[in-house]
């Protein structure tokens, strides 16, 4: 639950990756997961697209995050269903290690969406037209046209004086704002959990024995 404070307000370079259905195999191929670790996965991010070959690590110049003006991107403007597919949390750990703080997409894969919040990445659902508008503005001058994401105010600020509101579930918002340890919070409800199980054991004993 580190870096949660950075999510309250973030200003950065946004990279458009607008094709729909970018899956977690594309975000980090299975073959790149080489250690029982959450660390150091940024190098493997999008490796199938980012490198000419996985072994040589020679950059593929056409890939957006290899272009000088997007290399420091910390915001992704994504297409529909971003992060669909495999549940591997390594996809989120790789994005985080690369420096991505915020992802804007019309929709996300469900498990990926949860994994983002649990790792202090702000995933925002925004209409396709709004993302396209932001992408056009960003592309004109990626270094200069930076986006500002204000989680507390639920606003995205872009062109001078322009802003758009975004929605976020209250529980997800407070998780990101406060950087809560969800497990610790749940463990404080042990009495309720035990009471539930005692009653449930009467109803469904085969679940417990």
């Amino acid at each position: 639950m580190t870096n949660a404070r950075e999510q309250v307000f973030h200003r950065g370079i946004a990279a458009p990756l607008l094709q729909p259905n970018i899956d977690t195999d594309a975000i980090i191929p299975s073959r790149e997961i080489r250690r029982v670790s959450k660390e150091g996965l940024g190098d493997a991010l999008f490796s199938g697209w980012r490198y000419r070959s996985a072994e040589s690590r020679e950059p593929e110049p056409g890939f957006i995050l290899n272009q000088t003006r997007y290399r420091e991107a910390s915001i992704l403007l994504a297409g529909d269903n971003f992060g669909c597919g495999s549940s591997r949390e390594h996809a989120v750990w790789a994005l985080k290690d690369f420096g991505v703080k915020v992802i804007l997409a019309p929709s996300f894969g469900g498990i990926f969406f949860n994994n983002c919040a649990l790792n202090s990445i702000l995933a925002i659902e925004l209409e396709e037209e709004a993302i396209a508008r932001l992408a056009r503005w960003v592309q004109a001058d990626p270094g200069g046209n930076r986006l500002e994401i204000d989680l507390a105010a639920q606003r995205i600020r872009w062109r001078e004086g322009k802003e758009m509101r975004f929605d976020i579930e209250p529980a997800r918002r407070s998780l990101l704002l406060e950087g809560l340890d969800g497990i610790a919070a749940t463990l404080r409800m042990e009495a309720e959990i035990t009471a539930f199980e005692d009653a449930d054991r009467q109803r469904r004993p085969w679940v417990y024995d």
């Binding site: 094709q19 729909p20 259905n21 899956d23 195999d25 594309a26 191929p29 299975s30 073959r31 997961i33 080489r34 250690r35 029982v36 670790s37 959450k38 199938g48 070959s53 996985a54 297409g79 529909d80 269903n81 669909c84 597919g85 495999s86 549940s87 591997r88 949390e89 989120v92 929709s107 894969g109 469900g110 498990i111 949860n114 994994n115 649990l118 790792n119 396709e128 579930e169 209250p170 529980a171 969800g182 497990i183 749940t186 463990l187 409800m189 042990e190 309720e192 959990i193 539930f196 199980e197 449930d200 109803r203 469904r204 004993p205 085969w206 679940v207 417990y208 024995d209």
Partner: protein
């Protein structure tokens, strides 16, 4: 008030409402594997937390383990042994059930959870694996989670979950011979899109679902996540109850009667209202195959590669252009003229006994085309033993298929093997770019269509092979 199956399952497991749609939900069973489970167990150890109910937690080896004959801890996955040893060590320390590589119960998590009666109708079950929804075919509330949530579930026997909305898909009519559960679910995804299920728990219902055997139902629920759903589920009927009866972890003796009475009430009541209902006419489904890099990019085996411009949605047109470029296909090409390099029967989608019987029936007396590498990887060690007892392995081998040990294998180059750069017809669930290896071109289809295509060396239905 008439209730949906989802409402009944939710009410059975809700410990507390946390405001809005969020609830604290009891988790009856947790399954882990050596890829994402190892890291969850290690995370718990590092935080100094224990597993709250270790006897309700299970772990298997499927994602990294080698599937070649004579396997041990060594895998072609880089540092694969580290994952296997770390998982074994952490699982033993935590005191959870471990189905190790040489355990007769080893196999793919969702396959062994079902065939051993570990997950039963009405249970809630999670696994850090997106295809956990497979177990919804038993009438369980089962869904995939990340590693952090797996830590949460292990530590607290519950999860904070946003309640999904309810959807029912009615499969009407009768599927033609040669049309399998795989064709049915692919057809649904293609018709309504790979995002149609987003935010929903999808109940699959209707006469064509009730007509399916359990293995077919697992195939249907397995791919609920490929339409973006939170999970899929099928109300347990006598067939489902018979399936779990007498399994190793099923309730014994008098408890069984009590459990079965409870399970018989797990169905959507007449008049229950769903947030969305869809219909599929099974008479319109033909043996199908994907042409692109998403399961929704589907066509009849008798059809042709579509024109990107034929889609109404510009995003779909864009995606189709990219997919055709990656797949090396041109619009208008008959699918039957697409030559394949490899054929794969395996994965949690389609490597159960009925799948293997279907494929073997076609392969009997036939040979795989000389240029095709063909593999069959059973879903569990138990399925492998049963298939061998029926002589299916001999049929596969005689046809030119490799006959493997159980595991996820080349569904995503688990085990470290790869179909890199080759064109594969595959009974798996994802045709994503690079899923089966760098540059690998995957065509999803039923085991029957895979077997037929392997023999002809070109994408084919069973009729023409």
């Amino acid at each position: 008030m008439p209730a949906t199956l989802l409402e009944k399952l939710w009410n059975l497991h809700e410990i507390a409402n946390l405001g809005g749609r969020d609830s604290l939900v009891h988790i009856d069973r947790i399954f882990l594997h050596e890829r994402t489970g190892s890291i969850a167990l290690r995370g718990l150890e590092q935080e100094g937390r224990g597993v709250r109910a270790p006897r309700r937690a299970f772990c298997t080896m499927d994602h990294i383990v080698d599937t070649r004959p004579g396997r041990g801890d060594i895998s072609l996955v880089p540092h694969g042994r580290e994952f296997i040893e770390a998982t074994r060590h952490s699982a033993r320390n935590a005191g959870i059930h471990l189905f190790d590589i040489d355990d007769p119960r080893q196999g793919i998590a969702h396959v062994v959870a079902a065939e051993n009666g570990i997950v039963l109708p009405g249970m809630s079950a999670v696994c850090p694996d997106s295809h956990t929804c497979t177990l919804g075919a038993l009438g369980a509330l089962a869904w995939g989670i990340g590693s952090t949530e797996a830590e949460h579930a292990l530590a607290a026997s519950c999860l904070r979950v946003s309640r999904p909305r309810s959807m029912r898909v009615n499969f009407l009519g009768t599927a033609a011979p040669g049309v399998t559960a795989k064709d049915m679910i692919l057809h649904l995804i293609a018709n309504f899109g790979s995002r149609a299920g987003r935010g929903f728990a999808v109940e699959f219902a209707g006469p064509a679902i009730r007509a399916l055997n359990m293995d077919g139902r697992f195939t249907i629920c397995n791919m609920a996540v490929e339409m973006g759903a939170f999970t899929g589920m099928i109300a347990p009927d006598e067939r489902a109850i018979a399936y779990v009866r007498d399994t190793p972890f099923a309730p014994p003796g008098p408890l069984a009667d009590q459990a079965e009475a409870h399970w018989r009430d797990l169905h959507s009541d007449d008049g229950a209202e769903f947030d969305r209902e869809l219909e599929v006419d099974c008479a319109r489904i033909a043996p199908s195959v994907t042409w692109g890099t998403n399961p929704e990019q589907l066509v009849d085996v008798d059809g042709v590669v579509p024109e990107p411009e034929a889609f109404d949605d510009p995003q779909q047109t864009f995606a189709a252009r990219q997919a055709l470029d990656y797949m090396g296909l041109e619009s208008g090409t008959p699918m039957r003229s697409v030559r394949i390099d490899a054929a794969f029967i395996g994965s949690c989608t389609n490597n159960r006994l009925e799948d293997l019987r279907d494929a073997a029936n076609h392969l009997r007396g036939r040979k795989v085309a000389t240029w095709v590498q063909a593999l069959c990887v059973p879903g569990s060690s138990a399925i492998k033993r049963q298939a061998e007892a029926e002589g299916l392995d001999e049929i596969f081998r005689a046809a030119g298929f490799e006959w493997r040990e159980a595991g996820c294998s080349l569904c995503f180059h688990a085990g470290g093997e790869s179909f890199g750069g080759r064109r594969v017809i595959s009974s798996t669930n994802r045709n994503f770019q690079g899923r089966q290896g760098p540059g690998a071109r995957t065509h999803l289809a039923s085991p029957l269509t895979v077997a037929a295509s392997a023999c002809r060396g070109y994408i084919s239905t069973a009729e023409e092979s």
